[in-house]
């Protein structure tokens, strides 16, 4: 049951990641259009930067759930593999909880930020795009990342209890 949910969730965060990079490509296309208009017609597109920043903010934050679900963080796992399988899963569990704390804090802070922006009615400089919804989306995306991390924690806890052997990447079978 949990396995099935994890697979479904991975598919969801994969689509989210594809959407995220799609937004980045859209921002690139807008930039290109602005450059062309600026250099050919000498008339830059009005408010491009406002849209690009919104697209990039959501695009970057939407990448977090996939990175989290696939454990592709910038980290060093040389020590854990020397502690045996139980030691390895214990260390993984600890690291997983640390990641969850930070992701949870991001959700909390982005929500506070969204509430504050909604109260002050802050919007972008040229196009007056309201910024509160952007940070609500940011908080939702970080919630998705935190949920992915919860699933990993459950997996690591199960591995620790069942004394699962070290994954191949930690036994030298695959280093690339």
């Amino acid at each position: 049951m949990l396995d099935r949910f994890q697979r479904l969730y991975l598919t969801f965060v994969e689509w989210l990641a594809l959407f995220a990079v799609g937004l980045v490509v859209l921002a690139a296309a807008l930039t290109l259009a602005d450059v062309v208009m600026r250099s050919v017609v000498r008339h830059p597109l009005f408010g491009t930067n406002d849209i690009i920043i919104v697209l990039l903010t959501i695009g970057i934050l939407a990448s977090f759930p996939y990175c989290t679900a696939t454990s592709q963080h910038l980290r060093v796992t040389a020590v854990g593999s020397r502690l045996g399988s139980s030691g390895f899963w214990l260390v993984e569990l600890f690291a997983g909880i640390a990641i969850l704390v930070i992701l949870g804090a991001f959700v909390w802070q982005f929500s506070l930020r969204a509430m504050m922006l909604a109260k002050t009615g802050e919007s972008s400089q040229l196009l007056s795009i309201p910024m509160a919804p952007v940070w609500w989306v940011g908080a939702a995306l970080m919630t998705a990342a935190a949920l992915a991390q919860c699933l990993l924690i459950v997996r690591d806890a199960a591995a620790l209890i069942s004394r699962k052997p070290l994954p191949p990447s930690q036994t030298g079978e695959s280093v690339a």
Partner: protein, 433 residues
């Protein structure tokens, strides 16, 4: 608590958390929040996560990292890396050690349209290694040239490591790219000299391949035109002042996707793979940047870096000695963690010391880049070596490390030159403004 002790404990805490598998960004964010919280209250400390992230994300340059990743992925998928290698081989492959030198040139050219060391090593490991082995090259020279050539992926601008450094240290990314040009060219020259010396000592290490005819050379050149065009757009646009770095990255990424589509290689699996890789790498790097930014805030509050700088100046320690000690420290730390982690964790502490001695932060960015690249090939965590070994499982690590040893010596010479003569990095900045 004394601020110096607080910072030392914080640094120790970060390294402990990293050793316990906590991601580098998360470790720095946690320690930064705890340190800041102890000094100024935890409510304010947790709010750093929101304020630092939003201030980073309000910068239009944030798109540069995913865009350079996309450009590299599609440049690879479209076959531009093999085109560049074929052209370089056609030009110099008929000389002794020529294919190894062609690998260096190919990696440097690919580095100008990609920005990652590992991606360049993996790409050329697939393209150049079988060619060199087929031509009877010794495995040590073949693998050594690819592992070291791979570092040019990050050394030749645009470089993702320099973008990260620029975002954390608040330096202009464009200036960092300009400053990296001569050190990157120096790397190419030194690597080719190393290959020449190796084949001079052992001519069997890199036998000459047959010379290609003029028609084949012309064809190789024609195949390279899209890569050359992207290079001209990205580098010419940036250095010529036509585009900002973000605009060049946008245009370069779209051009690379366009070339992949025109060559009918833009399939769903290719697109999916490139997008997922870009998403994962982007989030991974941004988590590290957010963490470093929070840690910087805490260290800035303690003013320990300024105190340390003043103390070092009071002791009359020669600045060059301090620089060399820090670089040696990075290399030692890199053997336990890795050099990128060492840079990210220590930059908030080290940069003020460097600046207090009157050194340019742009120059320090280049030194960091060279040290990080050196870390990609030196044991025990030589990532490029591991990537190559993953691709050619019959190659023992000992053979690859034997192959990279002369290049490491070359890199140490280059690092020393760049430290002793900052003008090698900074001179071009006085020309291109």
């Amino acid at each position: 608590m004394d601020p110096t002790i607080a910072v030392l404990l914080a640094l120790g805490g970060v390294f402990l958390l990293i050793a316990l598998h906590v991601p580098i960004g998360v470790a720095m964010a946690l320690v930064g929040v705890i340190g800041f919280g102890l000094m100024s209250g935890f409510l304010a400390a947790w709010s750093l996560l929101g304020t630092e992230a939003s201030s980073m994300l309000s910068n239009v340059d944030i798109g540069v990292i995913p865009l350079f990743f996309l450009m590299g992925s599609f440049a690879n998928a479209s076959g531009m890396a093999s085109d560049l290698y074929r052209l370089a081989s056609a030009l110099i492959g008929h000389r002794r050690g020529g294919l190894a030198a062609a690998t260096i040139l190919g990696c440097a050219a690919f580095g100008s349209i990609a920005g990652s060391s590992i991606a360049t090593t993996a790409t050329f490991g697939r393209i150049a290694l079988p060619q060199m082995r087929m031509r009877g090259y010794k495995a040590s020279l073949a693998s050594g040239s690819i592992a070291c050539g791979g570092t040019l992926g990050a050394m030749v601008p645009p470089s993702i490591i320099l973008v990260i450094y620029g975002l954390i240290s608040e330096q202009f990314i464009l200036k960092l790219f300009v400053a990296a040009v001569i050190p990157a060219a120096l790397a190419v020259v030194i690597y080719i000299l190393v290959i020449a010396l190796v084949v001079r000592r052992d001519p069997e290490a890199g036998p000459a391949a047959p010379r290609v005819n003029r028609a084949e050379l012309w064809q190789a050149f024609r195949d390279c035109q899209p890569a050359i065009l992207i290079f001209i757009i990205v580098s010419g646009g940036i250095y010529g002042g036509v585009f900002t770095v973000n605009e060049a990255a946008s245009i370069g990424a779209l051009a690379a996707i366009g070339v992949t589509a025109m060559r009918k290689r833009l399939t769903w699996p290719v697109l999916r793979q490139a997008f997922l890789e870009a998403a994962a790498s982007t989030a991974m790097i941004y988590m590290a940047i957010f963490g470093a930014s929070i840690m910087s805030y805490f260290i800035g509050l303690t003013q320990v870096a300024e105190t340390a700088a003043a103390a070092l100046q009071h002791l009359s320690v020669p600045p060059m000695l301090v620089i060399f000690l820090i670089v040696i420290g990075y290399l030692v730390l890199g053997s336990i963690f890795d050099e990128t982690a060492a840079m990210l964790v220590t930059l908030p502490f080290v940069l003020p010391v460097i600046v207090s001695y009157g050194y340019d932060p742009i120059w320090w960015g280049i030194i960091n880049l060279v040290v990080i690249n050196l870390g990609m090939i030196i044991p025990p965590i030589g990532l490029n070596v591991f990537v190559l070994q993953g691709l050619a499982k019959d190659l023992p690590l000992s053979v690859i490390y034997r192959g990279v040893t002369p290049f490491i010596i070359g890199d140490l010479v280059r690092l020393t030159l760049l430290i002793l003569f900052p003008g090698l990095s900074l001179w071009l900045l006085t020309v291109i403004k």
